[in-house]
Symmetry: D3
Subunit: 69 residues, 6 copies
């Protein structure tokens, strides 16, 4: 299986909270992942982002796609 | 700082690959994060997702927002 | 009407399942569409994607925007 | 393989246009797919969307994830 | 024209910066828009978001779809 | 605080409509914002987008991230 995405995090399902239309699922990642972000070069320059910087990576839950093999 | 997003991963910048319009940034997460996903209840039922299941969480790099405090 | 998006699929509404906040709508596409994807060049090379390859195009329902003219 | 997404379209790669950071890939869908969209109930009511309506489904190329099995 | 989206901002194009694959376009909004966000109820409660609060609405440029009528 | 995103709109919360899993929040922007969009160069050329053009910027509510400082 090869995905056209830079981030694939191995995880275990911790809880499933079902609603009528949408469901919220929580996971524990199995290890600290390598992550990748694509942003505009303007944003990178505005942030003065460089190797060694500490950041928070913010990801809305709606953008996380679980796949079960 | 409070974000309207379920996933915030502490990370360090590893590399910055600048292009004309878009830039690809790589990070190392500092620890194994808790993650959350919102998907349709239909998808959860189609996958038979339940606590304990092993999954891959796939996230396109474009959906990862770095924030520097 | 001109959209700043590469994918526009003609479709007919098949069902509407309303929830309090979010609603799930199903459609039948009228014909087999041409589709486009933008991904990192790294991902394309990791997948060794080339003309003629068979793939699945996975799209979360939340990223599909219906427009009624 | 089970995906936490309502839309999976079988397709063949038609062309690959590589850039430095991002790449644009074109596909031909193999058949007319069933599609699903999640939107706010307010939007559905504002559009008066109902079974039988003709619509355009607009999807930015960045939201299309190719998977090669 | 009816869009399945809660946010439609009238704007004028200010600049177009073309790259090989991706292009960055800047706009001036014509007036202060009403905006809507959908997030998990958990996030809203974690932020203690209530009427009158001042916030920043952060939107990646990739999620903004221009339409020309 | 520096965000890896081109759009940050100052706004005040107007209403909060809570559901079980997802919540819809409405805001009033404090002033007319400058906005940015990234799209494929092909789309820009297909739309013949140029400075001075009037457009609608369409953004699904799910892509709007509120941050409270």
């Amino acid at each position: 299986m090869k995905y056209g995405a830079r981030n694939t995090i191995k995880a275990k399902v911790k809880s499933v909270h079902k609603g009528d239309i949408m469901t919220l699922v929580k996971f524990d990642a199995i290890s600290a992942p390598e992550m990748a972000s694509v942003l505009t070069t303007e944003s990178v320059e505005g942030m003065e982002l460089k190797p060694g910087d500490s950041v928070q990576l913010v990801i809305k839950a709606i953008h996380v796609l679980p796949v079960k093999e």
